[in-house]
């Protein structure tokens, strides 16, 4: 009832939520007691606790995050850093899956997820500044080729950080989660060898991305184990068009190929195009294995045999690990690697009508 003053100099700000003071008054206790009751309820009598609880409900009290953050020096928020969101990142369900997983891990906490996407180098330094500024309690970085600099920079700040996907210079200090790209590449080789293919090639990803490099290494391991020669390797940029071009070269130079491993389903699509354009049947003439178990693997003209990985689980784990690292700084947990599996579809299935098996 302050309507009496003639002309309040200061406009009464649009009455936001009730303050801790209001809460205390309503509950008939002091600010401190109210505060304690709200946070864990340690050292507060059952009566006081009950009174405060009721007042919270009555007033619809919500703590002011800024004020709390100012004194506790924590922000109750973590950042998801996505460097260079190019077309590939956008088209992959990867992006959405990561967010879902992290959100899931955060569900029972009051921690908020803030998104940091840096497209340009300029953005990149801005993002880094933001992270160093103590605006978040920790960060999850979706790693790829640019991530090496991120790893170093963040390690220096001491900000709790988890990488999704092994960063290039993963020392013992950086902690990350990843899928077993080595094992995945190996699986592809084993499978193609297992169905009797002998002249194998691969369309690998960019040589500056750990996931691509690991898949290629795994592939070579698998070939060696099967007693097969290394075979031709071409690189593409994880896009359909790029892979199609690479595959055309591959087919032209090695017309006798009978099996191809593409390091992503999107690339496998391009390989499929190139094969059909060259008059090759799949899997009749050439068996094809993709990677990711992307949605297109199922809807492709020839459904793709592919490598699947538990991406949601991985993202959830990343979130959980970050929370842990924030609560208990200094503990540097071991990297967690999730195993992969092969999903068999038409692109390698030796259909009863087909002609394969030329061992």
């Amino acid at each position: 009832m302050k309507t009496s003053s003639p002309r309040p100099l200061r406009q009464v700000a649009p009455r936001s939520s009730p303050t801790l003071e209001d809460l205390a008054v309503a509950a008939g206790v002091s600010r401190s007691t109210a505060s304690r009751a709200i946070n864990g309820g340690d050292r507060v009598s059952p009566e006081a606790q009950a009174a405060v609880d009721r007042a919270v409900l009555d007033l619809g009290y919500i703590p002011n995050r800024a004020a709390r953050s100012l004194v506790t020096r924590r922000t109750s928020s973590i950042a998801l850093v996505i460097p260079e969101p190019d077309v590939r990142v956008m088209m992959d369900p990867f992006f959405a899956v990561v967010i879902t997983g992290i959100t899931e891990a955060l569900r029972e906490t009051d921690v908020q997820l803030v998104l940091l996407m840096s497209r340009t180098d300029d953005d990149s330094s801005r993002t880094l500044r933001y992270l160093r500024g103590g605006h978040v309690d920790g960060a999850i970085v979706v790693s790829h080729h640019e991530a090496d600099s991120w790893a170093r920079s963040l390690a220096e700040t001491g900000l709790p950080t988890i990488f999704i996907g092994r960063p290039w210079d993963a020392g013992s200090e950086v902690t990350y989660v990843d899928t077993d790209n080595l094992g995945g590449g190996r699986l592809a080789a084993q499978h193609l060898a297992g169905i009797g293919r002998r002249r194998l090639a691969t369309v690998a990803g960019p040589a500056d991305m750990t996931a691509a490099v690991d898949r290629l290494r795994g592939w070579r391991t698998g070939l060696a184990e099967a007693g097969l020669p290394e075979g031709p390797v071409v690189h593409a940029d994880f896009t359909t068009d790029g892979a199609a071009a690479a595959a055309r070269r591959l087919i032209a130079e090695h017309p006798d190929i009978d099996g191809i491993f593409a390091a992503s389903d999107l690339m496998a699509l391009g390989v499929l195009e190139a094969l059909q354009a060259a008059g090759r049947t799949v899997p009749g003439d050439v068996a094809l294995v993709g990677y990711d178990n992307h949605a297109v693997a199922e809807t492709a003209p020839t459904p793709l045999t592919t490598i699947t990985q538990p991406m949601v689980e991985m993202a959830v784990k990343a979130g959980a690990m970050l929370l842990e690292e924030i609560e208990a700084p200094g503990s540097h947990p071991e990297p967690v690697i999730y195993s992969t599996e092969l999903v068999e579809r038409a692109s390698t299935s030796v259909a009863p009508t087909a002609s394969a098996a030329n061992a």
Copy 2:
């Protein structure tokens, strides 16, 4: 009943970020002057400004967001609310595109995007509480069937809010951006009529989603304009499987259909399955039009003619509108509707080899 703060993070190690006080000392001015120099530099002498600027660089000063927020009552962050992130939301590029667009709109500001995903009703009320708590300056809500309650609830809080996709109870108060679903449905009808199809049916989306309803209304308008009867309508849930089942019924009950409009590409995929299973060729026997210009539209067994919409633009606009609304509250801009276009592919192209044209 437990009250707030599910599980706050523990206090993080004290960081020694330089404070405004430090900055002022280093620059040889008072806190007030330093503050002014930092924010716009109004009413500060060139000398003082220069001194502060140098000190900022020297010390690597970064303003404490919490402290600033506490006094300005601004959080410099906005929320993206995604109710019920079900499978459909995740698989659509829609999700990623929206985030990219908003981020783009925020690029030149220091506004951060925080993600609010509410999967359950429980989450939903938590999210609402968060929004009302003044933790963000505004919100963008990805609208769908549950959005009606959101629209009402948020309108009451007075929090600047933009909906992406028209909410059900869009009164004059709620502002939103959307694509012209009416026009899109109409385009589909016009196109199918234009290539001589006469017995047309549609697999519509859920009747409780504005996008689905609008597309259906547009479709009917288009049919009427072409002098064609309304034709059969079946509803599905925007999933491939659901649409396949619906299409099987449709084909069984109306075997003479020669054109189908599916209200999404994912559903068109299901229709395609059903048609092939029924021994119908596409586009020979039945021409098919999808919606969204989803990635699968291009990779489908028969590439889909579909309706495309400028989703990125729309998301960018939503972000820009929200910023505007935050700066100048009370201005209630008109909804912005983006027009759609038809992309022609094999599923309706009267291939030279085909048999169509039965007018």
